[in-house]
Each structure stands twice: as structure tokens, then as C-alpha cells.
């Protein structure tokens, strides 16, 4: 997994590539924990994400909860595999997916 971050005032763009699973999710979690202060719009770009496990979903859930209190969160560029996972788990109802 690789994480690319772009910060522009309150806008925070995080591009996650590769596999977001139990081994890599903690890294994303740390990045978000450290980086979300003052963020009003968090965009997570998944256009090069290949797979997401439950550990990855929980990081998204926590990020969404934090952003509920301070702004908005958008997930974009989701491929079919990841989209199906969002659908079967009910995450499509929780996340804003573009």
C-alpha cells in the first residue's frame, strides 16, 4: 500500500493505492489521526486501490465519524471490487461515494 497526501488549507486529499488490509490499515489510521486536525473536507481517492478488508473499512468508519464533527468526507474512484465490498457491508449507506 502507498499513501499520497495533498493538503490545501481545509482540503485534505489522501490517495491510497494497493491493498488496504490488516497489515496496512494501521498505517492509514495513523496518517489520518495525525492529519485530520483543521480539515473540513477529506477526500479519499481509491482509484488505485485493489482490495479492502474489514480492517480497512474500520479505518474509514472512524475517519467518517471524525469528519461528521468537523466537515465532510468523500470517497472517490472506487473500482468494482471495492464497490461490491461497500455494497455487501452496507457501507454505501454510511459513506459519500462519488
Amino acid at each position: 500500500m502507498t499513501i499520497e497526501k495533498t493538503r490545501n488549507d481545509g482540503d485534505f486529499l489522501v490517495k491510497v493505492s494497493g491493498r488496504l488490509d490488516t497489515t496496512t490499515a494501521p498505517e492509514l489510521e495513523r496518517e489520518l489521526e495525525d492529519g485530520l486536525q483543521g480539515v473540513t473536507k477529506l477526500t479519499i481517492d481509491f482509484s488505485d486501490l485493489e482490495y479492502i478488508s474489514s480492517a480497512g473499512l474500520r479505518v474509514l468508519l472512524r475517519a467518517q465519524r471524525m469528519m461528521n464533527n468537523q466537515g465532510e468526507m468523500i470517497v472517490r474512484g472506487v473500482n468494482d471490487i471495492v464497490k461490491e465490498i461497500f455494497e455487501v457491508t452496507g457501507f454505501t449507506d454510511i459513506l459519500t461515494i462519488e
Partner: protein, 419 residues
């Protein structure tokens, strides 16, 4: 098209008699119908303008004149349906409002979806077929076997081919728990595996806490902390109303059963104590022992979600007491068989867990909580054992007497169960 004879069982689920082509035997078969009954009709091949009229007549005559009879269309062998075919179904629905279509292939489901039929009536997709031929077996339990089907997924195949309802239930509650932030595996799908069903989960490279306690005794304190952290997380999760069963209702059933075997005074006190537990909308796992908590690379995960409920933590602690102590109190060897570690380890673990959960070492406070948990625990154990014919063997009787004695003395001194 073949028409099966539907026979509703007492629980309201449907089962079908072998073959019901001969309609003359229907009246005799129907003697067994207790609740509602349904007529099941198979749809096959292609239904288009060429045969829609014929199909319509056939459907109407098979469904019969009784408007209240639910009709189930089994679309397993249906390859295509045109608008003329859809009109035939609409016609049938005019006479039979309770119309359900099952086993619909993805292609045909798209047609039903685009035409708005999925909004109008109950339409169920067919279960995907999964083959386990040549797949690695990665686990075996009492209910089934777990196979690895690809890099990221396993399928838990159930021994009992009637387990569909339980499988769907577990999947639903696991999904709910995941959304509420409980660390658990993703349940992707329910699938058909040969003659039975399976549940597809993400693959976890994990070891249970039971295994850790059995093989690495020096990690006991670490296990206690992680185990209690997760327990606190579960118990602090608020569940939207109506999403999970209320554990108090279940516990009331136990209390009613077990109170019949107690002296009258203690029996009625037991029922009153459970009755008086206030409603609580926080989650409890219901079977929170160390086999159901697993350690993956980085995380502690909860599994076996089918017992998830809401209720006071006392109901959770009661079943935990049973898993570590109560169940093996008469025969200490039982725990080794069940958990893989011995009774002394279990007792030590349980004691430390209680202290960590209560956040105190004060023996009076701990004893107070444990006594409440024991009342729930013994009530359940006595019922369980009697229902499994425990009173018919000498050992069974002695075990029940031990639990009963403990329960009666606790009932004489405890005045509320809520924690």
C-alpha cells in the same frame, strides 16, 4: 413446469414435499398444514410472446381459485422473460397478492429490477454456487467446515442443510456489528455449496485467545487487557432499536424454566430479579468466551456473531462465568476439552477479567458483580442440562444439584441483577 406440494412447518418456514404432480393427494397431505401454506410453481426456459399466453393460463390454473393462498414462483431454471411474460406474472398477482419469486438468476433479476418488479413484489436472487473441490480446509467446528476459496476469502460450509435461516441471521448481525464499529470479519455472501449452504467471509490469519492462553501462559495478562478492552467496546455500543433481540426476554425464559426446579420462594425471586432488570439498548455478544476472540496480525477481532443481542452486561457476564467456571465446576476436565486450557488458568483469567472490567480490586465489589453473574449463569446451566436429559444420569443429577445449591444460596442474598 412442476408443482411441488408445500407444507408449512410450525415455525412458519416452508418445506416442500418430494413431488406433488398428482393433485389428488393434496387433500391428504394438507392435513399436516398448521399455519399458512403456499403453492410453489417452477418457471422454466424462456417466457416470451410465443408462449406467454400458455404460461399465463397454466400459472392461473395451478395457483387455483383461493386468493389467500400465497404463491411462490421458483425461477431457478428461468432463462429469460419478456414483457409478455411479465404481464402473465402481473395477471397472476391480481388474483394472488402474496406472490414471491425465488432463485432468480442475475440476468433475470436485472429484468425484474429494470421493470420495477423488485419494488412491487418480493423477489429473491438465487444463491451463488461455490465449489469447494480441491480447496484447503482451514478449520473444522461442530457446525461445519471452513474452506479457503481464494486469496482473501473463506467459506464456512454448514453440515446442516436446514441452517439457511441461521446463516442469514448471523450474516445480518455481523454486518450490523461491522457498521457499528465492532472489529469483526466481513461477511460477503450466502452461497450454495452442493446440497447445503455456506457463508463467505474474509480470510483471517488469526489465532483464538483460547489457543494463546493454552500455549503461551505468560501472555495471560496481555490477553486479559485486550479481552476486556473489546468487551467494553461491545458494551458501550448503542444498537438502533429493533435490530437485535433483547437478552432479557431470553433470560426470562431461562428463569421461568429453572424456577420450576427451585423451592417456591427462590423460584419466584429468580423470576422477579430478571423481570426487574431495566431495558438496556447496548450490545452484548452473548457467547463471549476466548474461542470467539481472535488475534490477527495487528488486531483483536470478534467472531461467531449469531448470539448478538442487547441487554444489561449481567447477561454477558453470566455466560462468561459459565464458559470459564460454571460449565466445568463439577467436572474440571470439561474446560480442557472445550477451551484447550485447564480449570486453574480459566479461574485465574476469569478473576482478572472481572477486576479489569469493574476497574477495581475491591473484593466486595468484585464479589457483588460475580454473584449477579452467577445467578444468570446457573439459571442457564440448570435449564440447559435438564433439557439435555441431565436428570437421567447420576453425574448429571449431582452436577445439577451442585448448581442448584449455589443458586439457592445466591438468591437468598442478592437483591438486584443489573450491573
Amino acid at each position: 413446469m412442476r408443482q411441488d406440494l408445500p407444507i408449512a412447518d410450525a415455525s412458519g418456514g416452508f418445506s416442500y414435499a418430494e413431488d406433488g404432480q398428482d393433485s389428488s393427494c393434496r387433500s391428504t397431505e394438507r392435513v399436516t398444514v398448521t399455519m399458512s401454506d403456499a403453492i410453489k410453481i417452477e418457471l422454466t426456459g424462456r417466457i416470451d410472446s410465443g408462449n406467454a399466453e400458455e404460461v399465463k393460463k397454466d400459472l392461473l390454473s395451478r395457483a387455483g381459485d383461493d386468493r389467500d393462498t400465497p404463491v411462490i414462483l421458483d425461477a431457478q431454471d428461468l432463462e429469460y422473460i419478456s414483457s409478455a411474460g411479465l404481464r402473465a406474472i402481473l395477471q397472476l398477482r391480481k388474483d394472488h397478492e402474496q406472490l414471491t419469486i425465488i432463485n432468480v438468476s442475475p440476468e433475470v433479476y436485472d429484468i425484474f429490477d429494470m421493470t420495477g418488479f423488485t419494488q412491487m413484489m418480493e423477489i429473491h436472487r438465487a444463491y451463488k454456487e461455490v465449489s469447494i473441490e480441491g480447496c484447503e480446509v482451514i478449520g473444522k467446528g461442530a457446525n461445519g467446515t471452513i474452506y479457503r476459496i481464494d486469496k482473501d476469502n473463506v467459506v464456512k460450509v454448514f453440515n446442516n442443510s436446514d441452517a439457511l435461516e441461521e446463516i442469514e441471521h448471523e450474516r445480518e448481525v455481523a454486518k450490523l456489528a461491522l457498521i457499528l464499529g465492532i472489529p469483526t470479519a466481513i461477511s460477503y455472501d450466502v452461497v450454495r455449496v452442493g446440497d447445503t449452504y455456506g457463508s463467505v467471509f474474509e480470510l483471517l490469519n488469526a489465532r483464538s485467545f483460547s489457543t494463546i492462553l493454552a500455549t503461551e501462559p505468560d501472555k495471560l495478562d496481555w490477553c486479559v487487557n485486550e479481552y476486556v478492552d473489546l468487551l467494553r467496546k461491545i458494551h458501550s455500543t448503542v444498537v438502533p432499536e429493533g435490530k437485535l433481540p433483547d437478552m432479557k426476554e431470553t433470560a426470562l425464559d431461562w428463569a421461568k424454566f429453572t424456577s420450576e426446579y427451585l423451592p417456591e420462594e427462590e423460584g419466584s425471586k429468580l423470576r422477579a430479579l430478571v423481570e426487574a432488570v431495566p431495558h438496556n439498548d447496548h450490545m452484548i455478544h452473548g457467547d463471549y468466551h476466548t474461542k470467539n476472540v481472535e488475534l490477527t496480525d495487528e488486531e483483536v477481532l470478534l467472531i461467531d456473531m449469531d448470539t448478538l443481542a442487547v441487554g444489561d452486561p449481567v447477561f454477558e457476564l453470566g455466560s462468561m462465568f459459565n464458559a470459564f467456571i460454571g460449565f466445568s465446576e463439577y467436572d474440571h476436565n470439561k474446560i480442557l476439552e472445550f477451551q484447550g486450557f485447564d480449570y486453574e488458568t480459566a479461574a485465574k483469567f476469569w478473576d482478572k477479567v472481572l477486576k479489569a472490567y469493574a476497574g477495581t480490586d475491591d473484593p466486595d465489589v468484585i464479589k457483588g458483580i460475580e454473584d449477579k453473574a452467577k445467578i444468570v449463569g446457573y439459571t442457564r446451566l440448570i435449564r440447559r442440562s435438564i433439557r439435555r436429559k441431565g436428570l437421567e444420569t447420576e453425574d448429571g443429577k449431582a452436577e445439577i444439584e451442585l448448581w442448584k445449591g449455589e443458586l439457592i444460596s445466591l438468591l437468598d442474598k442478592v437483591d438486584s441483577l443489573a450491573i
